[in-house]
């Protein structure tokens, strides 16, 4: 298992290879459909983003509410391909890593390679298990979106596999 620290530098991202299993620790941000739309609208209008995307790692996830005594609720990855239409624009802003489930489009794979970034796949449907890797969670943008708000998570040893590396090589864990 390779240890990955987030935020992730371009140099560190370029060392990762498709198929490599990793444990991610550090700061990541949840963002899914509605938050991606809002981020891209802000960029379109030339306005400042609520988070600095340079070397950031986004986690495509919308957690359940935390029960008392928990830092977060169930918190597994959502389908990455729904974010494909927004991803190349965010990569231009320095976005370095993404965590989700499933395939990415050829355009996104190309944009990942062009920008020296990486896409990590986490096991889908394992939100109760993955929540254990989240030490702290706080809403930092778009609170009106509820579960789709951007949350800053501090994670420890979050398990994933490199599904698209900085050279544009692709690894599929699930093959028919």
């Amino acid at each position: 298992m390779t240890e990955v620290h987030a935020p992730l530098t371009r140099e560190a991202a370029e060392e990762l290879r498709a198929g490599e299993e990793v444990l991610i620790s550090g700061i990541i941000y949840t963002a899914r459909d509605a938050a991606h739309k809002k981020l891209c609208e802000l960029l379109q209008k030339g306005e400042a983003l609520p988070i600095d995307l340079e070397d950031a790692v986004l986690y495509y996830a919308g957690p359940t509410p935390p029960p008392p005594g928990c830092s977060i609720g169930s918190c597994g990855p959502t389908t990455a391909s729904r974010m494909d239409r927004f991803t190349p624009r965010l990569l231009e802003e320095g976005l370095r890593g993404m965590i989700g489930k499933g395939h990415r489009s050829p355009e996104v794979v190309e944009a990942i390679a062009k920008n020296g970034a990486v896409f990590f796949a986490a096991e889908g449907g394992c939100g109760a298990l993955l929540a254990r890797c989240v030490r702290r969670a706080e809403v930092i943008a778009f609170p009106e979106l509820g579960t789709e708000a951007i949350r800053r998570l501090i994670v420890e040893n979050f398990p994933a596999v490199v599904a698209v590396d900085a050279k544009g090589s692709v690894y599929n864990k699930w093959t028919i």
């Binding site: 029960p67 389908t79 489930k101 796949a121 864990k173 699930w174 093959t175 028919i176």
Partner: protein, 253 residues
């Protein structure tokens, strides 16, 4: 005539919706142990600590209502009240938007999708199925023609599986329905996902086995269901169930 109050339906929906999000049915666990993915097994062995999946779904509620009972009080309101209570009490996710294009979250995961079916007798059965959209998005329907036949059906099912994996959280259960009409075939494919065990008709049971053999690296089961249809038609719908195949059911009367 047996009389029941809709408040009983609200209680059952609240209980069953929460339970279905926190625990897998034993029959599903058994299939997953046999499949042997470590993370997935560890996930359901967390056993009610948190919802098994963050997508606690759009709540699909099925009521099988005996024709000899009378229910006092509003049924849809009772169902939504049950959903609301489960979401609040068990910390489930609010994943419903009130309008598909304007997309404002309703905040309590209502409304549910409600199905009612009349059955003989004086019983009332409630089933709650949290419909996560990772797999819901992968469902497909086609109006094949009689000439497409069995080959056309098999090809469409396999094509749907290829499009569904890995987004739909494998290992998956494939529910496929043939026959009926455009709307009914979709309904039956959803029900087929929840069926445990082979089709009682050996003709379809054999077809299930043949299809499963081709996709066994990513699937737990293929469940086929057939209905009478028109001389000009061969509707075919395929629904996908993710490995977090959750539902809960109870006879409340």
């Amino acid at each position: 005539m047996r009389e029941i109050n809709a408040a009983k339906i609200a209680d059952a929906v609240a209980r069953l919706y929460a339970d279905s999000c926190l625990h897998l049915p034993e029959s599903v666990k058994k299939k997953l142990y046999a499949f042997g993915n470590k993370a997935i097994i560890e996930n359901f062995e967390t056993n009610g600590a948190l919802p098994l999946c963050q997508d606690t779904g759009l709540a699909a509620v099925y009521l099988e209502i005996g024709q000899d009972i009378h229910i006092s009080g509003g049924i849809p309101a009772a169902v939504n009240e049950g959903v609301r209570r489960a979401v609040k009490g068990s910390y489930l996710r609010a994943s419903v938007v009130s309008d598909p294009l304007r997309r404002v979250n309703t905040g309590d995961n209502t409304p549910a999708v409600l199905y009612t079916e009349l059955v003989p007798g004086d019983t009332l059965k409630v089933t709650v199925v949290p419909r996560g959209f990772g797999c819901e998005n992968k469902a497909r329907l086609v109006m094949l023609t009689p000439g497409d036949g069995m080959q056309g059906v098999k090809a469409f099912i396999l094509e749907t599986v290829h499009l569904a994996v890995p987004d739909a959280c494998p290992p998956i259960v494939v529910g496929a329905a043939v026959g009926g009409t455009f709307d009914k075939v979709a309904y039956f494919s959803k029900k087929a996902v929840l069926r445990m065990g082979p089709n009682p008709d050996p003709f379809y049971a054999e077809m299930e086995q043949e299809l499963l053999e081709k996709i066994k690296n990513v699937a737990l089961a293929v469940n086929l269901v057939a209905s009478p249809t028109h001389i000009a038609g061969l509707p075919c719908a395929v629904s996908i169930g993710c490995h977090s195949l959750r539902w809960a059911s109870e006879d409340i009367v």
